[in-house]
Symmetry: C2
Subunit: 170 residues, 2 copies
């Protein structure tokens, strides 16, 4: 999913600024399955304005640039609906962690052990964060997606703890 459609989808759930969209995608409910940087979000929003898919109202602030709050237009909503008709492409997962394990013949067991420990710690943090997000219920769909993310994180954690010994067998 490109950043353009991602912005459209997030705005369909409520008005937002570019800054807020970035936060949602980086840390919030969307972080489990998407990514985008300022360098792609701001230009995408500008383009959506030009195309009439969103509108924007500016709010003055002291010491900060004006806040630009974007809203989806009727045409924008149609465009989103249209984009969602297409079959979703396959998931794309990239994991340097898994790659490192596979290629790690040359690396010391201590290093591998440390990689696993770090990873386990990371999963535990993510699980706590996700559980907090589930509390602040938004829609049934967001509960479903957060629950999905939580289930996957927990399973990954279980697997790592149960099977880490495999990597140290001769």
């Amino acid at each position: 999913m490109d950043v353009r459609t991602l912005c459209l989808g997030i705005l369909a759930l409520g008005d937002a600024t570019g800054y807020e969209i970035k936060k949602l995608v980086a840390d919030g409910a969307f972080s489990f399955f998407s990514e985008a940087s300022y360098g792609s979000i701001y230009p995408a929003l500008s383009r959506l304005m030009d195309e009439g898919l969103v509108t924007c109202r500016e709010e003055a602030q002291d010491g900060k640039p004006d806040k630009k709050i974007y809203s989806l237009t009727e045409i924008g909503r149609e465009e989103l609906t249209h984009a969602l008709q297409k079959d979703p492409g396959p998931d794309r997962q990239r994991s340097e962690f898994l790659a490192s394990l596979l290629f790690a013949e040359a690396v010391s067991p201590e290093r591998v052990s440390q990689l696993i420990d770090d990873r386990i710690a990371h999963h535990k943090e993510r699980i706590i964060a996700l559980k907090e997000m589930v509390q602040t219920e938004l829609t049934p769909a967001s509960d479903f997606v957060l629950g999905y993310g939580l289930a996957i994180q927990e399973e990954a954690l279980r697997y790592l703890e149960a099977h880490r010994d495999m990597l140290f067998q001769k």
Copy 2:
């Protein structure tokens, strides 16, 4: 992990052609956590040649271009080891499927239901394929990574089957 390091890592497990690397990454044991197209693999291999990190022997074939079989050099192996010292970046997952569910307020329940059904079927296929791969054991590390992939796929399948009703509650 960039395509360059990916090629280095795959060659560390055994000699391969560009074509074979692409197959491994697209369908094989690496497909769970990486991606790369011919358009990035072939240039990457050429560059690795120029840098002396790999060598190449050509095998003539009838009717097809000569097969170029690449091998990692000692310098290449050092470069890989060096690259693996760095902490792996975070996993990046992108899922149009999950995004579609979150944004699907405007979409009909029938469509959502069909998306889930397709996804369940897809997981079942992947699970069968992964189980076959586990049979053709390579190294303890590859068993670990394949087992990880299998565990995640099975958990995703379980979750979808157990919780799909959430999306249709009023």
